[in-house]
């Protein structure tokens, strides 16, 4: 019984972190602050992964998202900003917020009733999967996806270099 309460408290804590970070990422007037909110939100979701007993996914979340993707976003802010706030100081405005809320209502208005009506009855506790099983899955039934994602990453890297490449003396 005690463990159940502990799990609920941990879930509430991580959810609070993830959602507060998400709200900051969406509403901050400065892009650097928005990126920091994204980092906080990613850490909260990593905690939720830990609660789901997916510790390998949680570690990869911290390594890939917090370690690599946010650095990329920070580079994007640094390399392009014209002013200290990155061009977000005036906010979305009334029309922008209205458009945003309307767009959010469409998928959420579909998904939430479906969840409420057709939500499956899951297990009370998550399954425990060894990381060795994940490796065996990558080398066994899911080899094609593993190879394809490497090709996608290579193509993205080559494309990024090609796009950002500047010929010497072009301008």
């Amino acid at each position: 019984m005690n463990e159940l309460y502990l799990g609920q408290i941990a879930f509430a804590f991580y959810t609070l972190i993830a959602l507060a970070g998400g709200v900051t990422a969406v509403s901050a007037a400065s892009l650097v602050r928005a990126m920091l909110g994204l980092v906080v939100s990613l850490f909260g979701v990593a905690g939720l992964y830990l609660l789901l007993l997916a510790e390998f996914v949680a570690l990869m979340q911290i390594l890939i998202y917090v370690g690599a993707v946010t650095v990329l976003i920070f580079f994007a802010i640094m390399l392009t900003r014209a002013s200290a706030d990155g061009g977000e100081a005036e906010g979305p405005g009334f029309a922008g917020s209205l458009r945003g809320i309307l767009v959010v209502l469409v998928p959420c208005g579909i998904l939430v009733p479906f969840l409420a009506v057709y939500g499956v009855a899951g297990f009370p506790t998550p399954k425990n999967v060894d990381p060795a099983q994940l490796g065996a899955g990558l080398l066994g039934p899911f080899t094609l996806a593993f190879e394809l994602i490497s090709v996608v990453l290579l193509a993205a890297m080559a494309g990024a270099v090609l796009l950002a490449f500047e010929k010497r003396g072009a301008k």
Partner: protein, 102 residues
């Protein structure tokens, strides 16, 4: 109660926040942050479904890892595109490339 519904609810909220940022932000980098939030919610939803239902747990966790890889590839490409846009139009707002020349 039903734990999987809580996780799915958090994922839906993350999707909503990301969509709002995608529509309401003025700059391309702000939109990219929204897309990352949405992909994060998708990964959480996949892992929750894999760990709390009779579905193959290995498939779900590997799916979440693939989502992360795709997010990294997408962020790389968007960084390059943002660089090109800011070089060509002077700033990285989403409105700048939408104007017609004439």
């Amino acid at each position: 109660m039903n734990p999987i519904l809580y996780y799915q609810a958090v994922a839906v909220v993350l999707l909503g926040l990301g969509l709002y940022a995608l529509v309401a932000r003025r700059t391309l980098v702000g939109m990219l942050i929204g897309v990352e939030l949405m992909l994060n919610g998708a990964g959480l939803s996949i892992v929750a479904a894999a760990q709390l239902t009779p579905m193959d747990a290995v498939l779900g966790q590997l799916g979440a890892l693939l989502v992360m890889g795709l997010a990294a590839a997408e962020a790389t490409l968007v960084l390059a595109i943002v660089l090109v846009v800011s070089k060509r139009f002077g700033d990285a707002s989403a409105d700048a490339p939408a104007e017609l020349k004439g």
